[in-house]
């Protein structure tokens, strides 16, 4: 089909002006098709621009409407506050006042506060639990003399019998032994014994860490310790200018539920003066009764005294 001959049947209704152009195009045959296409393109572009404009207008409208809602809400809130204030004033002036109905918001706030307090209580007691789909999940929190330390979890299944599904208890705590003894028969005792073990371990570790952190200048090298922190061996000195560490101590924590040593062996290094033997004996008693880092703190404060006697 030659361009310019035949009719270009419009695919969609054209505006009057465009119709003319098409007719015109037929007269100038070589440009006909291209001009037509150009015209279509321009039209489409215009339509798109117009559509975008209307959309933007709509969006703007929606935003403003939302803003209006917001402001209305604020206004209502403020009105409520003002009413409350007025009521309070009336009440203060001796009028018979109905206790203002606590607003829903106040009730919610009170509920949240009391739940938080409850959770705080659970945390403070050290053992808290939550029912799960298949049993209970316990959380044992440890602390030592006011400092909160790590928490450990136990996921227990209750059917067919009570068993430990998974846990985050350190591997060196004798969990299986304790479970074998008490888990089936007396869960409370099981939790209590486990909590004792964990708290004592946390306490021993805390003491050893404190010692290494704050009194490292009084200790020769690093402490020899182990995972359970139930055997500590080190050489130490009382604060003085001397560079030798005349005392050697071996602390044995025989009771895993206790954070004080059951056995203390202090000896003086071979080249230490004999006079220190007495001090060693005094220290031995101290280590048995007082927390490790506190013993060293007492050394520091007793520096003014003769021989560093406790």
């Amino acid at each position: 089909m030659e361009p310019g001959q035949g009719e270009l049947s419009p695919a969609f209704p054209l505006a009057g002006e465009c119709q003319e152009k098409v007719e015109e195009g037929k007269a100038y045959s070589p440009d006909g098709v291209f001009a037509y296409l150009e015209m279509l393109e321009a039209r489409a572009h215009k339509a798109a621009v117009k559509q975008e404009e209307t959309e933007q207008q709509e969006e703007k409208l929606a935003r403003l409407k939302a803003r209006v809602e917001e402001l209305r809400l604020q206004r209502d809130e403020l009105r409520a506050k003002v009413d409350l204030q007025q009521k309070r004033q009336l009440g203060k002036e001796g009028g018979v006042s109905n206790p203002a109905q606590p607003s829903a918001r106040a009730v919610l706030e009170w509920k949240i506060k009391s739940i938080k307090a409850m959770l705080e209580v659970f945390y403070l007691t050290g053992i808290s639990g939550k029912l799960t789909k298949r049993g209970v999940c316990f959380c044992i929190s440890t602390a030592y003399e006011g400092t909160y330390l790590d928490s450990y979890h136990l996921d227990l299944l209750t059917k067919p019998e009570v068993q430990i599904y998974r846990h985050s208890v350190p591997i060196f705590i004798p969990l299986q032994q304790i479970a074998k003894k008490y888990l089936q028969t007396d869960i409370r005792r099981f939790l209590s014994v486990l909590s004792d073990h964990l708290n004592a371990y946390a306490g021993r570790r805390y003491q050893a860490d404190q010692l290494q952190e704050h009194f490292s200048d009084q200790i020769e090298g690093t402490l020899q310790r182990n995972s359970l922190c139930n055997l500590l061996v080190f050489n130490y000195k009382v604060p003085s200018k001397s560079k030798t560490f005349p005392f050697n101590v071996r602390l044995l924590y025989g009771d895993l539920c206790c954070s004080l040593p059951t056995e203390v062996v202090i000896s003086c290094t071979p080249n230490a003066p004999a006079s220190l033997a007495e001090t060693a004996a005094a220290h031995s008693d101290l280590f048995r009764r007082v927390a490790l880092h506190k013993v060293f703190r007492s050394f520091s404060s007793a520096v003014g005294n003769v021989d560093g006697a406790p």
Binding site: S227, N230, L231
Partner: protein, 346 residues
């Protein structure tokens, strides 16, 4: 200084990345600060190692000190070796008083009584980890410093991490010495292997993140909430499904990073289930097949399977039980009994 020691030190220094050489030598502590100042750490490693060897010559280094440098290197780069986990058992229930000096003495004595030609070195770290380096010889030859085994043991735990050398024949000896020193009765190899020592520790010491349900008021973690697309015309059709998958994923994998394993291997000894008419096999015998999943970080990739849409959530328990069962080698046999299916062998 012995020729072999010099060569060993030279080769060890060459292994260290150039930027780390100075810090590692400082940790080693065998060369004084003044001596270290004389080394030019910006030249090529060949020359650095030569200078180090010369200084060690001045200080008359022996094999023990050279071995310490090797331990330090392996402690900082443990992932260059493959580690296996061994589990020990004991019958008694007395309280453990792990004494380090006692442990070292017993270990050395037991090992040396069986094989005189060994080099044994110990090094302790802050996290109660004891690193043992053993260079093996034979009854007739000196210890070969390039054929070393490494043992990492945390006191009062039943797990030992061993990176054996090529000579597997010395394993029984090593295991014996460990049992005697740590006061346990027997030892067996677990089906758990990886390059990442710390991840193995995380798995057996249960240090990885498990999602425990508690009432403890943790601060609400900012979950990765994808910003709502600015264009409100785009709607998430599968929002519920996506949330379900996220929830299941968190229940199974927890919130934190996963331990790093490189592969999981499943040995199938199950019957091939086919249409009887197809008659693929003449006899009814188990179809032996090995399925191996490999990845630079297997558990993270498993965790991202369901959210990426590549697998259905929940994932098969065979895949998700890996950290909890502390194994990445499985044998799956036919379940004998009423219910056909498969079960994982202990």
């Amino acid at each position: 200084m012995d020729e072999t020691v010099a060569e060993y030190i030279r080769r060890t220094v060459l292994k260290i990345p150039r930027d780390e050489i100075k810090t590692m030598l400082q940790k080693w502590g065998f060369l004084s600060e003044a001596q270290l100042q004389t080394i030019n750490f910006h030249q090529i490693k060949e020359n650095i190692s030569q200078e180090v060897v010369q200084l060690c010559e001045e200080n008359s280094a022996d094999i023990k000190q050279a071995a310490v440098l090797d331990i330090i290197y392996n402690h900082i780069y443990p992932n260059k070796r493959v580690w296996s986990v061994y589990q020990m058992n004991k019958t008694g229930e007395e309280t453990e008083f792990f004494d380090l000096t006692d442990f070292k003495k017993k270990f050395k004595r037991r090992l040396r009584s069986a094989l005189k030609n060994v080099t044994i070195n110990f090094r302790e770290y802050d996290d109660n980890a004891i690193w043992i380096r053993i260079a093996w010889g034979t009854p007739y030859t000196k210890p070969n410093q390039y054929k070393t085994s490494y043992v990492v043991y945390h006191s009062q735990t039943p797990y030992v991490f061993i990176s054996a050398s090529v000579l597997k024949s010395n394993m029984p000896l090593l295991c014996q010495a460990l049992l005697v020193a740590s006061n346990y009765c027997d030892i067996r190899e677990m089906e758990l292997r990886s390059h990442s020592l710390n991840s193995l520790k995380d798995i057996v010491f249960k240090r990885y993140s498990q999602n425990f349900q508690t009432y403890y008021p943790r601060p609400l973690q900012e979950r990765n909430v994808a910003p709502e697309s600015a264009d409100i015309r785009i709607i998430q059709e599968n929002k519920n499904e996506k949330e379900r998958i996220q929830r299941l994923n968190r229940e199974v994998f927890g919130d934190g990073p996963q331990p790093k394993l490189e592969f999981a291997q499943y040995k199938l000894e199950t019957m091939f289930k086919s249409d009887p008419k197809m008659d693929v096999l003449d006899k009814r015998e188990p179809f032996r097949c090995l399925v191996k999943f490999s990845s630079p970080h297997l558990l993270e990739s498993l965790k991202s399977l369901a959210p990426a849409g590549m697998a259905d959530a929940p994932l098969s328990p065979l895949l998700t039980c890996i950290p909890q069962k502390a194994r990445n080698y499985f044998k799956i046999r036919e379940k004998k009994g009423l219910f056909p299916g498969s079960f994982v062998s202990p």
